[in-house]
Chain length 121, copies 2
DNA sequence: ACAATATATACCAAACTGGTTATACTATCA
DNA sequence: TGATAGTATAACCAGTTTGGTATATATTGT
C-alpha cells in the first residue's frame, strides 16, 4: 500500500465524532491554532484534542501550517467535497413528492415493526 | 430523554461503516428484504447483517415494512437530508478559487509538519 | 544553555464495534 | 400441532477508539 503523505483514514469515521465535527465547524470561520481549539473544549485535555486533530489530519480534512511555536489548522475541502458527492446520490429521495407522502404516512401510521423497537429494553 | 420510536443513534456513526453505506446504496434502487440484503454480502453472517440493519433503523436511516415473513427495508430521507444540510455549510470552501489555489500550493509544497506524519510509524 | 510555551506521543484502562455461533421469535405451510 | 423459513436477539470475543496522565519534542525568549 502506498501512503503519500500520512496514514489514510476513513473520512466518515473521522466525522463520526461530535467533537471533531465541532472542530470543523470552528474552522469554517478561520484557521486556528491547536491550543485555541483545545481551549474551545474545556472538557477535553490538551493531548485529547491533539489526537482529535491527528484523526482529522489523517482523514485529510484539515491541513496544518506551522508559525513560530504554533500549529495552525485549517479546513481542506477535498474530502468534504467527496462526502458531498456521496450524499448527493440520495438527494432525489427527499425531493420527490412520493417520498414526502411516504414520510407523512409513516408519521401518522407507523409500521407494525416499530412496536418491536419500542418494546426493546 | 424522550425516545419517540426507538433508541436514537447518531447518523454519522451509522454512516461510518462501509457495509452500512453499501446497504443504503442498494436501497436507493428499491426496498429489499433483510435476507436479500444479507445475500448481497456473502462475507457477513445473517445475524451480522441483522445488526447492521438495526443500527440503520436506530439512526432512522431506514424504515421497515413487514410483509408475510419478510421484513422489507427502505430508505428514509429525513436524516440523510440533515447530513446534506450539514455538509452544505462547507460547500463554499471548495467552490472558492482561493481554496483551489491553497489546495494546489498544498500539493506542491507540503507543510513542514507533514514530515512528522510520514516519520510516524 | 536553560526556562517557558505549544504541541505531540506513549501508555494504560474503559468503552465501543463488528463479527461469530447459538438461540429465540414469528409467520406460513402441511 | 409440528416443521420450516425469515429474521432478530443473546452471549461472547478480538480489535479499535477515546480519554486520561505522564512524558517527549520543538520553538522561542533570556
Amino acid at each position: 500500500m502506498l501512503y503519500t503523505r500520512s496514514m489514510a483514514r476513513d473520512v466518515f469515521s473521522a466525522l463520526a465524532d461530535p467533537t471533531r465535527r465541532q472542530v470543523l465547524d470552528l474552522l469554517t470561520r478561520r484557521e486556528r491554532a491547536a491550543g485555541e481549539l483545545g481551549r474551545a473544549f474545556p472538557r477535553i485535555s490538551q493531548p485529547g484534542m491533539s489526537r482529535h486533530l491527528r484523526v482529522l489530519r489523517e482523514a485529510e480534512l484539515v491541513r496544518v501550517r506551522q508559525d513560530r511555536q504554533h500549529r495552525f489548522y485549517s479546513l481542506r475541502s477535498e474530502r468534504l467535497a467527496e462526502v458531498d458527492v456521496w450524499i448527493s446520490k440520495y438527494r432525489g429521495f427527499w425531493e420527490s413528492e412520493l417520498d414526502s407522502l411516504e414520510a407523512y404516512l409513516d408519521s401518522t401510521k407507523p409500521a407494525r415493526s416499530v412496536k418491536r423497537d419500542e418494546k426493546r429494553k
